[in-house]
Amino acid sequence: MATQQTTTQNLTLVQAVRDGLYTEMSRDSDVLVLGEDVGKNGGVFRATEGLYDEFGPDRVIDTPLAESGIVGTAIGMAAYGLKPVPEIQFMGFIYPAFDQIVSHAARLRTRSRGRFTCPLVVRAPYGGGIRAPEHHSESKEAFFAHEPGLKVVIPSTPHDTKGLLISAIRDPDPVVFLEPKLIYRAFRGDVPEDDYTVPIGEAAVRREGTDISVFTWGAMTRPTLEAAENLAEAGVDCEVVDLRTMSPLDRETIVESFKKTGRAAVVHEAPKTGGLGGEIASIIQEEALLYQEAPVERIAGFDTPFPLYALEDYYLPSVARVEEGIRNAVEF
């Protein structure tokens, strides 16, 4: 999918967000970003840094503090032919816009039988682990994956971030683009300077293995890979699949990997009950029950509100918890 890659830069994930926006805004003058503090301030995480100076106040727009207003006006813009990329400052603040996302962005195409479409990308940093106040650590991708008409994307590397973001902006339908803020600056990766796309709906196998398939996404990809390396030393060979798109799920890759290993675990930050771990386990048993040698282990956030940061390390799946879960599945 990647077009020819002339030069590459070594970027953090949040820099790759910025680079994706910059690249697509340079190419397509219909693309604009709007949200709280995205303009002069460059975003509270600096994801829009410099864009205001580059593209001006009509394309990098500081809005009033109103999430329904941000997404709702972006829907009007999208229907009117622009390609808005609204930013919600933290996923915990997306709920005032929930109605506009699920009742309108997701339904405009079907409601108008295709006369109006809604090509927007709602960006929001999600997830815990940054010692932030209440409501700054949520991980509720399952809400959006349950709404037909939406696509839901979560990158885990700088390269994918830029490529998936560009895909999302070019996508003719609304995309909820969730950014793992825990790893915004945790590491760097090679990112082509040119524009390129990473397709929505395709998972990436991050580590091949034969004993168990471990499905994960976003910030949990790293502890999962770390657990896989630790387990390799103990003789357990994990395949780690980074799903990258939560809706539509790449069922083919999930099932294929599972058929190979016969065992699986899912690792996510969101509360276990009603999280996408259940959906994935369910797909597996639907499509490959006869291959199944152990229950699909769900290694997830607890079914409690995300705690204040003194306890967040206990809430989030740690490497040890991931290892333990995988071991349960392997030893079953």
């Binding site: 207003g69 009007g76 808005p84 039988r113």
Partner: protein, 367 residues
């Protein structure tokens, strides 16, 4: 334009309840005035027939508009060709003025998505069922239009109840800040289903809420089509060519009454007096405009009769057309969810088709 400078408490009026002129007649040709009258009659007759279709089980729940024709037709008539209209769910009359075939409106309330599919060139957004959510879409579209360097106005309809929703506030506030070419048109018909206007808000008028957003608010007699036209026209012009220091958006409060039920599922006698309804019926916008047109020699018995007949024919034809449309193919459910169908939806569609094949449609249809 001066209409907009009014204190919101001074309701703008042009015709009184007897069709006597009490304000300035807007600059409309005789033909246009008669056409407005015809559109109002069309809306009224359509409404009567739609309610009756619902009663006969030929249509689902339907929200009647009788009493509100003055506000709908007067305002929609004030738009320019290129302008856009964002309806709630009751603007069947305004839709017609802007080129939406009655057949479409019927189809929609008959439960067909196609009723909401506007033809290219018809600048109307789909019906918005969730209250006031469309206000943000109208603000966003107007904003996009302004960013594109166009010069169009965007009218958005909502009810008195709609002013209580957060989206009303956010939409008008964004419009003020980004100075978008919007006309926010509140059909204050005194009731939100069973909840009276006084229970929606403690502010004396709805128009005065514009003060919170830094732009003009104006209250108009919503059962006076000419006053509505004048006020809306001024708002449209201001949206496109504001004077120095003026903000483009306007909040119009059109004071009116719904004569009938909220929808065909509602029984208004539970919550309001017959006496109140009668009081408002005396303000009926249709005889009012008719009297004025007759008094000024623009309309006579013969013309009125011709209009009655043509309106009845038009509605009858629309009903025939709508009822001739077959139930959509079940697989249409899967169209337009996304531009292209993802794999799992493809499978779901196939499984539905296989089941229909196997069991027949009887196995699905209830009743």
């Amino acid at each position: 334009m001066s209409t907009l400078q009014h204190d919101p408490r001074d309701q703008v009026r042009v015709l009184d309840e007897d069709g006597e002129v009490v304000g300035e007649i807007p600059d409309l040709s005789d033909g246009e005035l008669v056409e407005m009258y015809r559109q109002m009659r069309l809306a009224r007759h359509f409404d009567k027939r739609a309610v009756s279709l619902q009663r006969q089980g030929r249509m689902g729940t339907y929200p009647p508009l009788s009493g509100q024709e003055g506000a709908q037709i007067g305002s929609a008539y004030a738009l320019d060709e290129d302008d856009w209209l964002f309806p709630s769910y009751r603007e069947h009359g305004a839709g017609v003025v802007r080129g939406l075939p009655l057949k479409q409106t019927l189809l929609y309330w008959m439960g067909h998505e196609d009723g909401n599919k506007m033809d290219e060139g018809v600048n109307i957004f789909p019906v918005a069922v969730p209250i006031s959510t469309q206000i943000l879409h109208a603000t966003g579209a107007a904003w996009a239009s302004k960013l594109k360097g166009e010069n169009r106005a965007f009218i958005c309809y909502f009810g008195d109840g709609g002013t209580s929703e957060g989206d009303f506030h956010e939409g008008l506030n964004f419009a003020g800040v980004f100075d978008t070419p919007n006309v926010f048109f509140c059909n204050n018909n005194q009731w939100a289903i069973s909840v009276p206007r006084e229970r929606q808000t403690a502010s004396e008028t709805i128009a005065q809420k514009a003060i919170a957003y830094g732009f003009d608010g104006v209250q108009v007699d919503g059962m006076d089509p000419l006053a509505v036209y004048a006020v809306t026209r001024a708002a449209v012009e201001k949206a496109k060519n504001p004077e120095e220091g003026q903000r483009r958006p306007t909040l119009v409060e059109a004071v009116q009454y719904r004569f009938g039920a909220h929808t065909t599922a509602d029984d208004p006698t539970v919550y309001r007096d017959a006496e109140e309804v009668e009081r408002w019926k005396a303000k009926d916008p249709i005889p009012r405009l008719e009297k004025f047109l007759r008094n000024t020699g623009r309309l006579d018995d013969e013309a009125v009769d011709g209009i009655r007949q043509s309106v009845e024919d038009e509605v009858a034809e629309a009903i025939r057309e709508a009822e001739a449309v077959e139930r959509p193919e079940p697989s249409e459910m899967f169209e337009h969810v996304y531009e292209s169908l993802p794999e799992d939806l493809r499978e779901q569609r196939a499984s539905l088709e296989a089941l229909r094949e196997q069991y027949g449609d009887e196995a699905f249809l209830r009743e």
